[in-house]
Every structure is written in C-alpha cells, then in structure tokens.
C-alpha cells in the first residue's frame, strides 16, 4: 500500500515538475514577445515622428487627465491562482456618457476590478509611472463630465485624424502588449502556485519513503 502511495507520489511529483517547466518555457516566450512588441511600438512611434514632425507626437498631444479604455479584472480561483483578464470598454455614444460615468463611480468599489491606465503615447518613459499614479485619482475626483467632451475617444485621434500608418501600427503593438501583460501576470501566479505545490510534494516524499522503509523492515523481521 505504502509502496503504491510512494509510486503515485513520485509520478505526481514528476508531473508537477514537467508542468512547472512547461509553464516557465511559456513564460519566457511570452516575455520575449512582450519585449519585442514594446520595442516595436516605440520604434513605430519614432517612425511616425519622422513623418509627422517631432513635436506632433509628444506629451503635448494628450490631456493631463485620461480615461482608461481597458480594465483589468483579477479573480481568485479555487486553487489559489489569480486570473487576470482585460476588458475593453465599448465605445459609448455622447449622451450616454453622462449617466454611465456616474454609474461607474457607484459600482467601482464593489467590483473586483483594478482600473488600469490605457497606455498613454508619450516619448518620455520615466513620466509613464508618474502619469499612471496621478491619473489614478482622476476618476474619483470628477463625477461631473462636460457634455461636449467624449472621454471614450480612440487615443489615436489625439494626434490628428489623418495619422500615418506607423502610428496605427504603434497603437496595435501597445494594445497587444496590454493583453499579453494580463496573460503573463496570470501565468506568473500559476507558476508561483506550481512551485509551492512542488515544494510541498518534495517535502512529503521523504516522509513517505521513511514510512515505507520502516514498514518493509517490519515485514522482513
């Protein structure tokens, strides 16, 4: 009986180890994809600046208060893993915006949602963290919206209506980065979980080995 348990536990340990390795490999792939997409996005922006002029793709083009277009929802599953999924808010019509804005304020704290900033297109990477922190406070502070403002606007329009292809490419790279980030975050928590399980299994194994050894001894006596 104990021998069977030991065998099962060894097989389980092997399975967990293989799964852990697979997850690590997947994580590396996704991270490499994320890095290359971010590099691509910044480079496409540099190309857009080449065609449009340096000062037409810069921090001047966006407002200091930005509404997020993408929300990240974190959900804790039964096995302790956390699942991150991104949700893109639909384009709203102008007259709905006023009512919806207030309702977003109301249901916000009750939802298991973490508001994530839409990646602002600026050419100063250090400012990005600062922007995120400062615009965090913006939605709570201003419940009254101007009726002629459309907060659900495509950020591409900040740079003009007739923008070159390269800017659109930059936007699509950054959009993919947002979705990939959520997948990587989920994968990272899954890996931490796997590592924990692996540790547990390895702790249990010597105990099982000892028990089976003593029982074998007793049988042979």
């Amino acid at each position: 009986m104990v021998v069977l348990e030991l065998e099962e536990s060894s097989l389980l340990l092997d399975e967990k180890l293989l799964r852990f390795m697979d997850q690590l490999e997947l994580l590396e792939e996704k991270r490499a994809a994320l890095n290359s997409l971010i590099e691509q996005g910044w480079f496409s922006m540099a190309k857009a600046r080449y065609s449009m002029g340096n000062k037409r793709v810069s921090a001047l083009q966006y407002a200091s208060e930005i509404e997020p277009l993408v929300c990240v929802h974190a959900r804790t599953l039964d096995n302790g893993e956390v699942d991150f999924c991104t949700e893109r808010s639909k384009q709203k019509a102008r007259d709905e915006v006023g009512k919806e804005a207030r309702s977003i304020e109301d249901i916000g704290p009750q939802e298991e949602g973490v508001r994530r900033r839409n990646k602002p297109k600026n050419n100063i990477p250090e400012k990005k963290e600062g922007e995120e922190a400062s615009s965090e406070k913006a939605p709570e502070v201003t419940p009254i919206r101007k009726s002629d403002q459309n907060p659900q606007q495509d950020p591409l329009k900040w740079f003009g209506i007739l923008v070159p292809q390269t800017l659109k490419q930059a936007q699509s790279s950054f959009t993919q980065v947002i979705e990939l980030s959520a997948e990587i975050a989920t994968l990272q928590t899954a890996i931490l979980n796997s590592r924990q399980e692996l540790k547990q299994c390895r702790k249990d194994k010597p105990i099982l080995q000892e028990v089976s050894a003593t029982r074998l001894e007793k049988l042979t006596d």
Partner: protein, 349 residues
C-alpha cells in the same frame, strides 16, 4: 535679363545661402553619426560639422527631443539672417515659406486648447519660423469663423481663410480639416506667386510646389482610409496646383483602398515609381519616406541654376530633411535599433 540685375538686390543673400549649403552633412558625416553608440558620441561628431557647439552650450539633459529643438533653432537663426537682409520680392518669397509653419502652429495651439493644455506650455513647442503676434489668443476660438474674425484677420494667414470659414465647433476633425484647407489655399497662392515671378524661379519652384500639392493629395487619401473623413470631404482638401488636377484628384476622391490609389499613381510616371512595390533589399520604406526622397531630389536641382529664389526654399527644405535624418539616427541609437539606422535620406551624394 534677370541675370543682369539679380545680384544688385539679392546677390549677397544668394552667396550666403550657397555658403550655408556647403555645410550640409555629407555621406561621411552620416556614416560617423551612424557608428555612435550614445547621444554624447553624436554630439561629439556634430561638433566637427557646421553645427559646431550647438549642443554643448545647453545644460539640459541630452535627449532626442533636445537635439531636435537645437537643430530647429539653428535653422531659424540662419533663416532670420536671410530674411532680415532681404528686399522685395525676395522678402515676400521668404515670408511665403514661413506661412506653412504658421498654419501648423495655429493647429497645434487649437489642439492644445482642446486638451486643456496651458498656452504657456504649448507656445514654446510651436515652430519659431511660424511665430506671429496673436499666437497666444488662438486657443480661445471655438469655431473657424471666430478664429478668423477675432484673431487671424490681421495676420498673413487671413487671405487663406476664404474656404476655411465655418461655424462648426473646433474639434480634432475640424482642426485637421482647417489645417488642410488653409494649406491648400496657401500652396495655391504660393504657386501663383512663383509663376508671376517668372524666369528661373518659376522653372525651379513650380515643379516643387506641384509635387507638394500632389503629395498632399496622396497622403490625405491614404491616411483617411478607416477614418470618418469621406471621399467628398477629402476632395475639398486637395490642392489644385499639381499635376493630378483635375482628373487625378477626382479619381483619388473616389478611391476606397490602397490598390485604387496605386492605380491612380500608375497614370503619372513620376508617381508610379513612388507607389511601385519595393525590392526586398531596400527594407520597409513607408510611403512618406519615398515622397521625402523624391522631394530631396527635386530640391537639389534648384542649386544647378543661378539668379533665382528657388535656392532659398530648397535650402530650408534640405536642412529640414537633414534634421529629420539626424533625429532618426539619434532615435535608432537611443532605442538600439541599429539595423534600421540607414533609413535616412542622404542629400548631396
């Protein structure tokens, strides 16, 4: 007979501009810049060119944006030197060159106001060549009509508002339409001014301005796919002083995708090569890159003739391309994308 009397009024300035043209970066300079690993290395290499100590004198952190601003400052200094010594009609010609920057500044101020940006923040980013007295007030206007009647009526841009006045509120779309309409009126006015000057000025400037008009028509069409700008709206934005007028423009207004635009370009030998499929080795050049290349070719031709104003316009445009090249190399260096660093356009081979 222009050759006999040109030097009396404009000889000094033509000499000056040809001297400045000799300082345009060569292939060797670009090769050295492309070898750099940091912006500091680039600063060092630029010191041995006509730019001299341009970057060393500033205490701010060396960023690509700073390099761009300094290059622009340098060009403005050279232009101001030319403009302050110019007599009519060269002074009018040089003023015409500044109007395109004024139009860009007006639109930048309007979009800055739409984003609730402080005027004090936006003003320093405006192009100095396009400065005018009433700039600070531009952000207050809510419609193009208000913009014209209250603010721009006393500026040189007033004559270009003929077709641009409207009572729709200024939002991103209206600002873009305003930019294109003002530019169309400006280009057509500049073209007829050059034509009236006649002689070598007309022979060098008119092809350049016609190319500019056609380029705008193509770029507006291609960039409008997937946006709210319809074909009918676009056709009001196409300048009519180019080779495409009138049949090409009508076809472009009806084009719905890139293939149809290419079909229009195929009817004109000069534009067919721009839209042709690239060879695999040339890398992924964008449409804008190809137009810039063609622009450089046309502008270098201006220096083959003497006693005309085209050299002044061409010099400004070639210096702008040089700035774009240097900034491109700087971006590749800072982003470590050395493989694409040779996408700049060399000017005088």
């Amino acid at each position: 007979m222009a050759e006999l009397s040109f030097n009396k009024d404009h000889g000094y300035l033509e000499g000056l501009v040809r001297g400045m043209k000799a300082g345009i970066l060569t292939d060797t300079d670009y090769h050295n810049l492309a070898q750099c690993d940091t912006l500091d290395d680039m600063k060092l290499h630029l010191q041995s060119t006509d730019y001299g100590k341009m970057l060393s004198s500033s205490e701010e952190d060396l960023t690509v944006s700073l390099v761009d601003s300094k290059l622009r400052e340098n060009l403005v200094t050279e232009f101001s030197c030319l403009r302050s010594n110019a007599l009519p009609p060269l002074s009018t010609f040089l003023d015409y060159i500044t109007y395109s920057y004024m139009i860009d500044n007006v639109v930048m101020l309007i979009t800055g106001a739409l984003k609730q940006r402080d005027v004090a923040e936006v003003l320093p980013r405006c192009h100095p060549l396009g400065a005018f007295d009433q700039m600070a007030a531009v952000g207050i206007a809510r419609t193009p009509t208000e913009l014209y009647s209250a603010i721009l009526v006393d500026t040189p841009l007033a004559p270009f508002f003929q077709e641009a006045v409207s009572d729709t509120n200024l939002d991103e779309m209206e600002a873009e339409i305003l930019r294109s309409k003002l530019f169309k009126a400006y280009l057509e006015s500049f073209h007829s001014f050059c034509k009236s000057l006649g002689g070598a000025t007309r022979d060098t400037m008119c092809p350049v301005l016609e190319f500019e008009a056609d380029r705008r028509a193509f770029i507006i069409t291609v960039n409008s796919f997937g946006t709210d700008l319809s074909g009918a709206d676009r056709s009001a934005l196409y300048p009519s002083c180019g080779k495409l007028y009138p049949e090409g423009l009508q076809l472009l207004a009806r084009a719905e995708d890139h293939e149809q635009v290419k079909a229009v370009a195929d009817c004109y030998p000069g534009y067919k090569i721009i839209f042709d499929d690239p060879e695999p080795e040339s890398g992924c050049k964008t449409l804008e890159d190809r137009f810039f290349e063609q622009e450089v070719k046309l502008n270098t031709l201006a220096f083959l003739q003497q006693f005309h104003f085209g050299v002044f316009y061409s010099y400004i445009k070639l210096k702008e391309q040089e700035s774009r090249n240097i900034v491109w190399i700087a971006e590749c260096v800072t982003q470590r994308q050395k493989s694409k660093i040779h996408n700049y356009i060399p000017i005088f081979k």
